[in-house]
Amino acid sequence: MSVRRSPRTVEGLLPSPEPVRFVAEDGTAVEPPAGYAEPTGEHLMEAYRRMVLGRRFDRQATALTKQGRLAVYPSSRGQEACQIAGVLALREDDWLFPTYRDSVALVSRGLDPVEVLTLLRGGWHCGYDPAATRVAPQCTPLATQTIHAVGMADALRRKGEDGVVMAFIGDGGTSEGDFHEALNYAAVLRAPVVFLVQNNKYAISVPLAKQSAAPALAYKGIGYGIPSEQVDGNDLVAVLSVLDAAVAHARTGGGPFLVEAHTYRMDPHTNADDPTRYRESQEVEQWESADPLARLETYLRGRGLLGAEDVAAAHKAAEEYAARLRDAMNADPEADPFELFDHVFAEPTPQLNEQRALLASELTARED
């Protein structure tokens, strides 16, 4: 990677003309561009298990919306290779800045799935501990998290840690001004941050063609002096290889890196969305054949790394995980109304104390 990338020269900053690929849609190997190393078999097997689990989690979450146990769920289906490769490319002491779409990445990083779903079931805003997990709260205001990621990356550098920060963002999010500011700050500060654009072709109903006229979103990097790459986002092997290189680049003082992963949002934007209004089911069907999990499975089987018992074990683990999640989500989330006043400031203001007292009197009156 370091060979191909000589920042501040034009060639060192442009992405490959075509998305990097290691595995074709049919699961057979193709020749990747020079400079990219294939992840180890062990690494790929771990990715496979997480893909199976992530997909199962995703299906379970969608099911929970139908049972009224989850208010809303933006599915990751089809994007598992991006999210899981993103997580696998990071060390435990690296940081991740995800969006609402990236629940699969979070559970793949080992976060408690109930804590992850706290936001979407309406129990609190962020259910997990960002400091302990080194995962920022899933971010809804689009692109805003990318600047936070730059700040965190700069914080790590200042503290002499060799940690790296990865920020996820969607294709739609790249249109926001904050993304521009984040890329520029990252480049000027030479912050150890990797931006992963999951280009899933839609921002709710708005297709990529209405979002950008760029040859590819990865071409945004050069305008900031950031080396960039584009990759087949449904080829786990490729995404992991490219992200490993990008993370190494950032970790070794090379500064930021921008990766665009071409993928597809298989499900509606959320369970509340009606995609028949804006896309053809044929389009979705076409992408079924590019499914990242099936592709990885075929590839690993082909390479003799994956056997039937591995597949069965992975699915069994996933089923158990899903069952535990279903049970855990059967209970209503607990909620203490007075907590509303607890975290506005470290110490409540006199005004908040008054308001807390007002609420207390209301609740007492209701009990009477």
Partner: protein, 344 residues
């Protein structure tokens, strides 16, 4: 959608849709754009069918960037068009705050009236629908505090239709705040004959003698329910629906409070420095000698909007309003108030 039926039972979302449709039909300078307002028809379906009827040139999806949407509207309005734009949710208008405060609000003034900006910025706002964080902010005060912006918020489907028509016809920028939780409430609505009061006028939604409840947008139904409940206790509450926050209808509000002598202001937003503070301040300035009790405010707490499971604790409800009414000192011996009222 029923834009063609002049008198019908409509939801507020349908009434807004009808207003957009009729405006697009009547004035070819009107353009509708924003995120997902095209084929999807908006996440609340307020723009449903408009792209189909008027084509991509008149109703279109923009790239995902709110400052961009507002800035584009500024340029188009300078060029003679009348943009009606949608911010998808309250908190997602914040990226456009500079464009709104420094340009939309100011261009007429900066240019001594040589340029004007007939732009309507539609913002679904406030809570009560179980939305997750950033989807339930009550942001009306930010705009009401910004000179050069008119700020409007309907509480009925009929008002939604007419206020939006008026806003689109207005020569100046209008922030059109749509209370999300009223989108689906249905009502007899006339799109042919104006029933609603004019732009800038409040409406007395219920007449009463003992105290005035001043409300707007999502709080109007709460006020009406409170008045209904109070009536059963023998208290006669008047309910004023502001309809337009800027301009403010001092006349209607002051006339009511001078008559009733008591006033409770209801606002869903966090209280501190909100529109309710302005109302309370104005009312006591103008009605001081008619007031038998302080003007009280019933508002949301000064906290970030709660997660869905707790929003009912935050939102001003009938009980909170009635508690405030109870504190309006109807009696010299407030502790006996309950007994007195129960006896009456």
């Amino acid at each position: 959608m029923t834009a063609t039926t002049p008198n019908a039972s409509m939801s507020m979302a349908q009434a807004l849709n009808a207003a957009l449709r009729d405006a697009l039909r009547e004035d070819e300078r009107v353009l509708v754009f924003g995120e997902d307002v095209g084929p999807l028809g908006g996440v609340f379906r307020v723009t449903d069918g408009l792209t189909k009827e008027f084509g991509e040139e008149r109703c279109f999806d923009t790239p995902l960037a709110e400052a961009g949407i507002v800035g584009l509207a500024v340029g188009l309005a300078m060029g003679g068009f009348r943009p009606v734009i949608e911010m998808q949710f309250d908190a997602f208008a914040y990226p456009a705050f500079e464009q709104i405060a420094s340009h939309v609000a100011k261009l007429r003034n900066r240019t001594r009236g040589r340029l004007s900006l007939p732009i309507v910025i539609r913002i679904p706002y406030a809570g009560g629908i179980g939305g997750v964080e950033h989807h339930c902010d009550s942001s009306e005060a930010y705009y009401a505090h910004t000179p050069g912006l008119k700020v409007v918020t309907p509480a009925t489907a009929d008002d939604a239709y007419w206020l939006l028509r008026d806003a689109i016809a207005d020569p100046d920028p209008v922030i059109f705040m749509e209370p999300k939780r009223l989108y689906w409430s249905k009502e007899e609505t006339s799109t042919a004959d104006r029933r609603a009061a004019g732009f800038g006028r409040a409406a007395v939604r219920r007449e009463g003698r003992d105290a005035t409840l001043v409300a707007y947008g999502p709080s109007v139904p709460v006020a009406l329910q409170a008045a209904e409940a109070a009536a059963q206790d023998g208290l006669s509450l008047e309910v004023v629906d502001l309809r337009t926050i800027v301009p403010f209808d001092d006349e209607t509000v002051v006339a009511s409070v001078r008559r009733t002598g008591r006033c409770v202001v209801i606002q869903e937003a966090q209280g501190f420095a909100g529109v309710g503070a302005e109302i309370a301040a104005r009312v006591q300035e103008r009605c001081f000698h008619s007031l038998a009790a302080p003007v009280l405010r019933v508002t949301g707490f000064d906290i970030p909007y709660p997660p869905p499971i707790l929003e009912h604790s935050h939102l001003p409800d009938v009980d909170r309003v009635l508690d405030a009414v109870d504190r309006l000192q109807f009696d010299d011996e407030p502790d006996l108030l309950h007994l007195t009222r129960e006896a009456s």
